[in-house]
């Protein structure tokens, strides 16, 4: 078990290294991307440009630039943005993480609750009209792109009906949980719901099919034969078993979202989280920030994968030797 965990960790580090090299190379392979002139400012004369290039180490060979960037990122931890000079990237990510965590945690609670409710009711009521209706709602949720849904939510709550029904909706943005818990929740309510819609749909459909499959298993038949009530069978037996694949999927989705995959939701709702940082960095071609956010995202995805793998290995000994 320990050896497995160590192997898993080593491969995770290798993946992170490969990703960082790839980001670096893609960046410098992009035409016209040399940041020196952009940093120096418009119409900078050649001497100024040379000074700037030198002071940012941009006149050095690419492998050395890579090594320097990694040193600033991981060892001295003082890597600075090319665009907002003086702004250190690590504190910015540290500051943005609670925003993303607040968004994703809240949305996760909502989508899991809805998914369990919808999936269970659909499986329980299969054969009636409720089942296809619930599943249709799930498909609609999956099909709505989050940036479109977010903009429509904003259009309704901030603009069209802001004067009447939705006058209680606060302006877009983020209020810290420690500053004002009430406002924190109120500011995040619509972002939570918007982000949750997609995942609730996916999870509900998945759970329903797992439940339906489980309800035909031998152990359910045994339980029925023992005279246990249908309700108890559904909730205590079938649902518990059906949740296992959901949990591993949840681990991966959660990792990706915390890593910045909630980018579009953050952009649409003006939440200064990690996804927004990534988005801004990509817009301004800010290499240090792109590097830091990509590594951060990769870290969470790899971490989530590793946790899921290790958990699986714990649950199923066959996976250890795979």
């Amino acid at each position: 078990m320990l050896l497995f965990a160590v192997r898993r960790l080593a491969s995770a580090v290798l993946v992170l290294f490969a990703i960082s090299v790839l980001v670096f190379l893609i960046f410098f392979a992009t035409p016209g991307v040399d940041p020196a002139a952009r940093i120096a400012g418009r119409n900078a004369d050649p001497a100024t440009l040379a000074q700037v290039r030198h002071s940012f180490g941009l006149d050095r060979p690419i492998p050395i630039r890579y090594a320097l960037m990694m040193r600033h990122l991981f060892i001295s931890r003082d890597l600075e943005s090319f665009v907002n000079r003086g702004a250190k990237v690590i504190p910015q990510i540290v500051q943005a993480t609670p925003v993303t965590l607040s968004l994703v945690l809240g949305a996760a609670v909502i989508w899991v609750l809805f998914a369990v409710l919808m999936g269970t009711v659909a499986a329980w009521r299969r054969g009636t009209v409720a089942d296809p209706l619930i599943m249709l709602a799930g498909v609609v949720g999956i099909s709505l792109p989050v940036y479109w849904l977010g903009e429509v939510v904003n259009l309704i709550t901030q603009s069209r009906l802001h004067g009447s029904v939705f006058s209680w909706v606060p302006p877009l943005g983020y209020v810290s949980l420690t500053d004002d818990p009430g406002q924190w929740a109120l500011h995040l309510l619509f972002p939570w719901l918007t982000l949750a819609v997609l995942y609730a749909g996916i999870y509900a459909r998945l759970l329903r099919s797992e439940l339906v499959a489980n309800l035909n298993e031998d152990y359910v038949r045994t339980a029925r034969a023992k005279g246990i009530s249908e309700r108890r069978i559904l909730i205590r037996h079938a649902l518990r078993c059906s949740l296992i694949p959901i949990v591993s999927l949840f681990g991966l989705d959660f990792g990706a979202l915390v890593g910045g995959a909630a980018l579009l939701t953050e952009v649409v709702f003006g939440l200064p989280g990690v996804g927004k940082l990534t988005y801004d960095a990509l817009q301004t071609v800010d290499l240090p920030m792109i590097m830091a956010t990509v590594i951060y995202a990769a870290f969470f995805v790899v971490l989530a994968n590793a946790v899921v793998d290790v958990l699986y290995a714990r649950l199923d000994p066959r996976a250890r030797h795979a």
Partner: protein, 566 residues
């Protein structure tokens, strides 16, 4: 100067309407109350909430080269000179700021003596001294200010400072006399625009102990009515009153109205406009998206202010690469492009007007003339495609491939598609190459990238013809192989360069005659067609209902500190 962000969304015909906008800022009500009545204390107080899509980088006034912060610096930092902070044309006038009066100029325009005002303090409480002024000029070079080598290279000793910034000393160029309270600046040659250059933020006076490198996100002490309380490029820039400020010149640095100014970052432009409509914020830095203009122009007409800018959008034709190394081929493009179509793509006649000259209307030296318009005349009327086609055939360049490099936002791309269709129509094979907005501007400057035709723009730094003609089209601005070669066309004509030098010299003694000469140079360059002026843009400011006393400086745009929020 750094260009503004572009109008975000689409080319939408409804945007042509922008109906009831208060036409220009020079409405009698606003300008009278602001500039003549002095400070009106009943409007003092409150928090002004500004919105911008994103932060604009370093907060260091000697480094930052964006309009977004230059506008805010007006109420924070001061130089020896300042542009008059009033509405309208007078805002182009430099007035003494930290200096007591206009400098005494001697030695044929090479020596300037400034007497510092007494009693001015930095926001830290330290008194402003001549040492601070000397240190600030050296700091321009130590921090590699973008304009160090273009604006301030005429100061004695600047050459050495440019090559070795770390040890920069201007001992012979900027001399402080603490007892007399004077600062003497020596130039290597007379410079008719020197006072303008002293009035832009890069020449701000900072305390002498300021770090000798870009201060980045750490605020530096100010002299003006505000200082920065905090700055986080992902959240907000918060400006609060400088407790040590008291008004010394209403023209140069007027007392401010709001007690606090917050510029928040992070919303989309759509959300920003909505927030101002809801009264959640007071002003949007970014140009409103075209599809919201109709709504703004009708429902919110009283909150919209439209002002023409001394700026132009133009096509740079690479005069060193086929086919545009051929003068006839360049003229063909000038004849072919429908400026009215470009205006429509930009958002309509309320947001831009067709351009025929390099010098925008309102800039000294501008003369109404239009070399390439069907039927002739001083203003633009229509393209002449027949003539364009004929010139392409004559030049022998027909059938050649032309790459059109534009920024990848909707407006620029739409213009690019239009240009592509025009080029194809007159006999070229055009391909469109959209690039990220942040990369395109440096990409098109580098000769190594072999860009034949690009769409770009230029917004003035200060109100002088040379800031367009000398900067954009002189031989000295052409640096082959560099990302910083602002003469994008690579245009270098010895005859024109001689005239440019003549105009610069003439401006020292006879500004009027120089302006006239600039106008002639403009036309001489247009005849050779290295650039194709397309439009002169206008700026739309959208303010909240509670905001009063809107004034528009042609130099630094809306006077933020003069707005009333109560």
């Amino acid at each position: 100067m750094a260009r503004k962000a572009l109008p975000g969304i689409a080319l939408i015909t409804t945007s042509l309407i922008l109906a009831g906008c208060s036409g220009s800022s020079s409405t009698p009500a606003t300008s009278a109350s602001g500039s003549t009545a002095g400070f009106q204390s009943q409007h003092k107080g409150g928090t002004l909430k500004l919105l911008a899509k994103s932060a604009a980088g370093s907060l260091d006034p000697q480094v930052n080269y964006t309009l977004q912060y230059w506008q805010l610096y007006q109420a924070m930092y001061d130089g020896l000179m300042a542009f008059k902070k009033v509405d309208g044309q007078a805002s182009f006038t430099p007035v003494p700021d930290l200096a007591e009066a206009a400098p005494q100029v001697s030695d044929g325009g090479k020596t300037y003596v400034f007497k510092l005002r007494q009693g001015i303090k930095f926001s830290t409480g330290a008194a402003l001294t001549t040492d601070d002024v000397v240190a600030s000029f050296e700091r321009i070079f130590k921090v590699s200010s973008p304009t160090a080598g273009t604006f301030y290279n005429g100061i004695v000793g600047a050459d050495a400072c440019l090559t070795k910034p770390a040890t920069c000393s201007l001992a012979k160029g900027v001399v402080g006399d603490a007892t007399a309270g004077t600062v003497t600046i020596h130039l290597t040659a007379p410079d008719s625009e020197f006072l303008y250059k002293l009035a832009v933020p890069h020449a701000s006076i900072l305390p002498k102990g300021s770090p000798a490198k870009d201060a980045g996100t750490t605020p530096l002490p100010t002299t003006g009515p505000y200082m920065v309380a905090s700055y986080d490029p992902n959240r907000e820039l918060k400006m609060v009153r400088n407790p040590n400020f008291s008004e010394w010149s209403h023209d140069a640095e007027p007392q401010a109205y709001p007690d606090e100014i917050d510029e928040s970052f992070g919303l989309t432009v759509e959300a920003e406009v909505t927030a101002v409509q809801n009264g959640q914020a007071d002003w949007v830095f970014d140009p409103p998206p075209a599809d919201r203009l109709n709504e703004l122009g009708t429902t919110y007409a009283s909150q919209v202010h439209v002002n023409p800018l001394t700026a132009f959008w133009y096509l740079a034709l690479n005069t060193n690469l086929a086919p545009f190394n051929n003068e006839a081929a360049r003229q063909a493009i000038s004849w072919a492009v429908d400026r009215a179509a470009v205006v429509r793509l930009y958002g309509g006649t309320n947001l831009a007007q067709p351009a025929c000259t390099i010098l925008p209307p309102g800039l000294p030296g501008h003369v109404d003339s239009c070399a390439y318009t069907a039927g002739g005349g001083a203003t633009w009327s229509a393209p002449d495609l027949a003539k364009a086609k004929q010139l392409v055939q004559q030049s022998g360049t027909a059938g050649q491939e032309v790459g059109v490099v534009v920024q990848d936002d909707t407006v620029n791309k739409a213009m690019g598609e239009y240009l592509q269709s025009v080029l194809n129509e007159i006999g070229y094979q055009a391909t469109l190459k959209p690039l990220s907005a942040d990369i395109q501007f440096t990409y098109i400057q580098n000769t190594k990238n072999k860009v034949q035709l690009s769409l770009t723009s230029w917004y003035q730094d200060y109100p002088a013809a040379s800031d367009f003609i000398n900067v954009l089209l002189s031989c000295a601005s052409f640096h082959p192989g560099s990302d910083s070669s602002i003469n994008i066309s690579g245009f270098c004509d010895k005859g024109i360069d001689g005239q440019i030098q003549q105009a610069l010299t003439l401006a020292r003694t006879d500004p009027q005659a120089a302006d006239k000469l600039w106008g002639q140079i403009d036309q001489a360059i247009m005849a050779k067609a290295p650039v194709v002026p397309l439009i002169n843009p206008k700026l739309v400011d959208f303010t909240s209902k509670r905001v009063g006393n809107y004034q528009f400086s042609k130099q630094f745009y809306m006077l933020v500190s003069q707005l009333w929020v109560q």
